[in-house]
Symmetry: C2
Subunit: 299 residues, 2 copies
């Protein structure tokens, strides 16, 4: 089954302790779509300007991503520039230029409306809702978010969460939204907002899944050297939805495996700047890392 992914498409200028790169392909939809494409056909919704490099369109196409929902508008593509601190756990934004993203309205091509799996990647909750309203009874709706929306669009986000099956966020966002510093305490409060399942991502410390069926503690792949963590969370969400859409059987089993595949893909993401590592990844390498994770968590 296929996955519809909406989010930002951007050009990123990134500085980390490992180096710097200018105008890389980025944005939540780009990372998530490429990550999901290792598992199922992907339909992407986003917007780019007339400065968007053809090579990046070619990259999407090489991954078999359906671009019928990728709008091309006169103007400049969303540009983000940021810098990571020495330990890579904190970053600061140096520059943001919204460009054509400012007027983005994610209207879906008719061919997209029946997509069974939907990932509402990190964009304004009102836009995520707009996509959801155009869908025809999807099997599973997942939403990611970021701290910005908790501050500027909290009510929109809370409205959206009542219609989301799976909510994915990181630990600091979970703390911000619930007032609970620890993910374990935040999870039941997050589920009370509507979603049947909640995943709290903890970066190098793995992720927690909470649902009626209980809790799952997912490992992170232990990376010795992180080159660039940009997009790791988006890649996690994309691979998660891709694996879920490719599977069958009980949700709990699928969700657990999906989180481990997602951790593997996210770890590859961190090994190169932007999407460079994911662009040359293949399913075999992902499977090998999942087997390693299996080996490293067995007791």
């Amino acid at each position: 089954m296929s996955v519809l992914i909406v989010g930002s498409t951007a050009l990123d200028s990134i500085r980390t302790p490992r180096g710097e790169r200018d105008r890389l392909l980025g944005g939540s939809a780009s990372y998530a779509a490429v990550a999901a494409s290792f598992f199922v056909p992907v339909r992407m919704v986003g917007v780019v300007g007339d400065d968007f490099p053809r090579t990046y369109l070619a990259l999407y196409r090489r991954r078999g991503i359906d671009l019928a929902g990728l709008q091309r508008r006169p103007g400049r593509t969303f540009h983000w520039a940021g810098e990571y601190e020495a330990n890579m756990n904190r970053r600061r934004t140096l520059h943001t230029e919204l460009g054509v993203f400012e007027q983005f309205r994610p209207d879906l091509p008719p061919s997209y409306r029946q997509t069974p799996f939907v990932l509402l990647g990190n964009i304004a909750p009102a836009l995520q809702m707009h996509v959801l309203e155009q869908m025809n009874r999807p099997v599973l709706v997942a939403a990611d978010t970021m701290d910005l929306w908790l501050q500027t669009a909290r009510e929109d986000l809370l409205r959206l969460l009542r219609r989301v099956d799976l909510f994915i966020l990181n630990d600091s966002e979970a703390a911000q939204l619930t007032g609970e510093d620890h993910a374990v305490a935040a999870l039941p409060r997050l589920r009370a907002l509507g979603p049947r399942w909640v995943i709290v991502k903890k970066g190098e410390h793995g992720a927690l899944l909470s649902g009626l069926e209980g809790m799952f503690i997912a490992p992170a792949y232990p990376l010795r050297r992180v080159v660039d963590p940009t997009g790791a969370g988006d890649s996690f969400a994309g691979a998660l939805l891709g694996f879920l859409a490719a599977g069958r059987g009980a949700w709990q089993t699928r969700l657990r495996k999906a989180m481990v595949y997602a951790a593997a893909v996210a770890s590859f993401c961190c090994e190169g700047f932007g999407l460079t590592r994911l662009a040359r990844l293949n399913r075999e390498a992902i499977e090998a890392r999942v087997r390693e994770l299996q080996q490293m968590t067995r007791f």
Copy 2:
């Protein structure tokens, strides 16, 4: 097989967001000995003053702990007072009175020298070494430490590590000792200091084991409510050694299981002030929590 445990024995006055308690039984040896006692006979080495409450001696005895190595000296028992911040991840010391601990010299009774498993709990590395030098070819020597010794007794600690099989420390200590912010990067450097295995404890995020056989990612038990984290690390180390000493077979399998049992015992420790929860714990409750951890990590 039995475990010898050396460390501090103290009276702790603790304030956490959940309340405060005065002159509770504490110290690294107390926590570790009680935690290990659920698995094997324990021999404790420590020192107490003449103000040490009989009820605390009774508590050790109820857990079957051999007190031949517990010295009783005229003077006051080591007293520590501390306070935890709202999220329990940081604490500050309000008061320290070394008392009889200042002159502590851990001379072993002859009956202790053949103990096959040794846990050098958190005390000055020179004292840990003094214990090691009195032992007669133990099967396995584990050592715990704390940030204080990294600052004040680094050379002693490095000398000790060349004679230790299993080194246990927390993530911030690992960063301080190696200059590597991330545990995964710190682990190979720590093993290069001598120990065959290194365990980095990450609190609520679990623990990592590194050895020649590869890495193991151990979960933490997801506690919704922490009452008092004091002694969780010492309990982890004590339960770990206790389980190892009780087992047989390949080290790798035993170490992995031991870490999960240790996580379970440490989680119980956090559910009450000081040793109050561990004092009324039993093996069945530990086994139930280990089964839960098995269920929560299976994929």
